[in-house]
């Protein structure tokens, strides 16, 4: 396990560097110039040249890359071209919205999906089992922004129970305000996410129900609930954890849409604006940090799977 962790960390670091390089190049392949974000109609040639010199877009790409790498080696993500402020603290501030949003949505989705998925598998032949299955199918088909718009209209505009959008200026210092601001976005994400998760839990449970080891355990005298808890959940959990890892990662990235619908000052809105303005340091910073988070999630999911499933540990190569 120790060697595995070491190797896995090495792979993670390499992936991050590779992602950084790809990002750097792709961004500069986009048409447009970051200097344009600083200027408006009326600026003359000299002003344009000065702006390009300021953001470094007049430099050859390898010079820009060298600067980027040397900054990165010092854990410095640079300063935004447009606002002139360092990117890293800004990302930290944005994460204080995006991380709670993602994690809370994920936990709620799991809390909804796991019991409902198991029930719909165990009771696939009953009407409510079929209903649950149908509802989850519907949930997969519905786009997340549509749920958001619907919830805003119903809960915020019509009933006036929760704010329609925004996040308190004081952030988490205004805990009740921040909490209320996140309720609808969390509901939006977790409703959609739990629908697809439920499908996975359901099929994993169905697999387990038909498995030999469960029948054997029953034959050896274990009660059905005991056999399911002792053997079934552990076996069924392995594929579900992979899916959970992927879902968590895609929720983090998918938060862009929800943040936009609810006007939340999260990582997603920072990224969107950064792309529009070709603000390279901002885009690079946000994408590097979110890549790191996604890689970490995959890392944790792998490790947890190994802890649960001894068979994965025994393969010498690890994978």
């Amino acid at each position: 396990m120790g060697r595995y962790l070491l190797r896995r960390t090495f792979v993670l670091a390499l992936s991050l560097i590779a992602a950084g390089l790809v990002l750097f190049v792709l961004l500069r392949l986009l048409p447009g110039d970051p200097a344009a974000a600083l200027l408006s109609v009326g600026a003359d040639e000299a002003q344009i040249a000065a702006a390009r010199a300021q953001v470094g877009s007049d430099q050859p790409i390898w010079v820009q890359l060298g600067m980027f790498l040397s900054d990165l080696a010092r854990f410095d993500l640079g300063k935004s071209f447009v606002s002139g402020t360092p990117v890293l603290p800004e990302i930290a501030a944005r994460l204080s919205v995006t991380l709670p949003l993602t994690v809370a949505s994920f936990l709620l989705a799991v809390a909804i999906a796991v019991p409902l998925g198991i029930i719909s598998a165990l009771r696939a032949d009953r009407w409510y089992g079929a209903l649950l299955s149908a509802v989850s199918q519907l949930g997969i088909a519905v786009p997340v922004f549509w749920i958001g718009v619907l919830l805003i209209w119903l809960v915020a505009v019509k009933w006036r129970m929760l704010p329609a959008s925004g996040f308190p200026m004081k952030g988490w210092q205004d805990f009740p305000g921040a909490f209320r601001a996140l309720i609808l976005p969390v509901l939006t994400i977790s409703l959609v996410m739990s629908a697809s998760l439920m499908r996975y839990v359901r099929s994993a449970t169905l697999d387990v129900l038909g498995a030999d080891y469960l029948r054997n355990a029953r034959a050896l005298g274990a009660s059905f609930p005991r056999a399911l808890i002792r053997h079934g959940i552990r076996n069924g959990a392995v594929p579900v954890i992979s899916i959970l890892g992927i879902e968590l990662a895609s929720t983090l990235l998918g938060a862009v849409v929800v943040e936009r619908v609810f006007a939340l000052p999260g990582l997603g809105s920072m990224l969107l604006l950064g792309i529009q303005q070709r603000d390279y340091p901002t885009v690079q910073g946000v994408l590097l940090v979110s890549t790191l988070l996604v890689l970490l999630i995959g890392f944790v999911a792998d490790v947890v799977q190994r802890l649960i499933d001894p068979r994965l540990r025994e393969t010498v190569a690890g994978r």
């Binding site: 447009g32 110039d33 974000a37 000299a46 505009v157 925004g166 996040f167 000052p265 920072m270």
Partner: protein, 494 residues
């Protein structure tokens, strides 16, 4: 337009106070005005690429200038108490208002004003106004209260141009994340991506505002902005983006919809340097082939107006020129044939990817197909527009909205992106700037605009409406929002 050549009036609060006068009855002076906007400033410095949002939040609220561009388009003295012009029109002396202090507590001196003007004309300045101040030769400060500006050539627009120059404390340093102005409000807090709050400044030299502060909340989605007003999260929203959104605010007991005069014009600009758009007959044909009334109606319903030229009614040199190249597809076809294109031609229209440009592009494509002209719509981002069209001038035709006030003078610059080059117009625009009176300036620009319009230099589609919606408790806000300004001091809330 009533800039006084020798002005000793103290205009103090100008139009904002007049607007609020009627609403002061049950107003709560402790109220905080909550403003919803789509224009988040990128930083806090109007010479560092902050975008129009900073004008909205800070002009005349946090920073004042020597002059103020009022909501009705007039320019009146603000921090300048007295303005004297020499006989030859080249030396302007400004006497500063006494008793003015910055938010940091330091008194306003002539050195601050000199510093502030030089900030805009500096090499690193990103201000779009830099060029208009290039006529300044030197700035002297004979004493603490006097600023003397010497010009290379006469400039009737100097007070107007100075209304864009924030007076900043010369000790403030970098103001991209903080401020030190003289305005009635100081910055209380700024949360990027979310909101900016201002609170009344106790040491303000003028009258106290009708409220105790304001919070600007920023949105990226128009729907979220509208919801904020519907759910009473904001008191007023500064721009409504489509007429469909207005239906939600029809309840007159809860909301008030006001339409002001905008200066935002949507145009199809040709690259007048390249064929076939170097041919005036082709440009005129395309102008006549587009039913602009129908286009405006499709986008804005019964709001906004068709201009017929680049000049909106808030400019003193406006006249109705819609009849010059009125909608007439038959004569458009005839003109095209005369120009040597009886079978029409094909061109690429660079179309910014945000509303209303893609809709307009589709409309133009359909209209121009009727006279045999094929439009290839090429969608680009705002950033690409700037680099490809504005900077590299690598385009045939493009859609764009021009938001500036008094911007017909751009046609006097042959190097501008659209490449319109008529020496007569260039001369008239220069002569207008050197005018002795505003009437003379207006005459010259009116004449220039008539030529520009006859030349169909661009295809002027329509003037956007300027719509502000508020709850009924809030009054006294500016309606026209010239230069994106949003004066807070007169806004009252019951």
């Amino acid at each position: 337009m009533n800039t006084k050549r020798l002005s000793v009036h103290i205009f103090g609060l100008a139009s904002a106070a007049l607007l609020s006068a009627g609403a002061a009855l049950a107003a709560d002076p402790a109220a905080v005005i909550r403003v919803g906007s789509l224009y988040e400033p990128q930083n806090l410095d109007n010479t560092a690429g902050a975008g129009q949002g900073i004008n909205e939040a800070f002009n005349d609220n946090v920073y004042e200038a020597l002059f103020r561009l009022n909501d009705d388009g007039s320019v009146t003295p603000a921090l300048a108490e007295k303005h004297e012009v020499s006989e030859d029109g080249l030396t302007h002396s400004f006497t500063l208002k006494p008793g003015v202090t910055f938010h940091s507590g330091e008194p306003l001196t002539a050195a601050d004003v000199k510093y502030s003007i030089e900030r805009v004309t500096a090499e690193t300045s990103k201000s779009s106004r830099k060029k208009s101040l290039s006529t300044i030769e030197s700035i002297d400060t004979p004493d603490d209260k006097t600023v003397v500006i010497k010009l290379k050539s006469k400039s009737i627009s100097l007070p107007y141009n100075l209304s864009y120059v924030w007076v900043v404390n010369d000790a403030a340093g970098d103001i991209t994340a903080k401020e030190d102005g003289t305005g009635p409000y100081k910055l209380a807090d700024w949360k990027r991506g979310s909101a900016l709050s201002l609170e009344a400044f106790d040491g303000y030299w003028g009258d106290k505002p009708a409220n105790s502060g304001a919070i600007f909340s920023y949105f990226t989605e128009a729907a979220a902005l509208n919801n904020a007003l519907l759910t009473d999260a904001v008191d007023v929203i500064t721009s409504v983006q489509s007429p469909d959104a207005l239906a939600q605010f029809e309840d007159a007991s809860a909301f008030k919809i006001s339409e002001g005069k905008s200066t935002t014009k949507q145009i199809m600009a040709y690259n007048d340097r390249v064929a076939p758009f170097d041919n005036v007959k082709v440009r005129k044909a395309l102008a006549r082939a587009v039913d602009k009334k129908k286009l405006l109606e499709a986008i804005w319903g019964d709001r906004g107006m068709v201009l017929g030229s680049f000049v909106p009614p808030t400019d003193a040199w406006y006249e109705d020129l819609t009849s010059v190249d009125a909608y007439d597809p038959e004569s458009a076809k005839a003109l095209l044939a005369e120009a040597g294109f009886p079978e029409g031609f094909t061109f690429t229209l660079e179309t910014p990817n945000y509303d209303p440009h893609p809709i307009t592009a589709e409309f133009l494509k359909a209209e121009l197909a009727k006279i045999g002209v094929t439009v290839n719509i090429h969608v680009i981002t705002a950033n690409e527009w700037y680099t490809k069209v504005y900077q590299a001038k690598d385009f045939q035709a493009t859609l764009q909205e021009h938001v500036n006030h008094r911007d017909v003078v751009f046609y006097g610059n042959p190097d501008f992106y659209w490449g319109y080059n008529n020496p007569k117009v260039t001369e008239l625009v220069a002569a207008a700037e050197a005018s002795d009176t505003e009437a003379q300036q207006a005459d010259k620009l009116r004449e220039a605009n008539r030529i520009i319009t006859e030349d169909a230099a661009s295809n002027w589609l329509f003037l956007y409406p300027q719509i502000v919606v508020s709850n009924t408790a809030t009054t006294g806000y500016p309606l026209n929002g010239l230069n994106a300004q949003f004066f807070l001091r007169g806004i009252a809330k019951e």
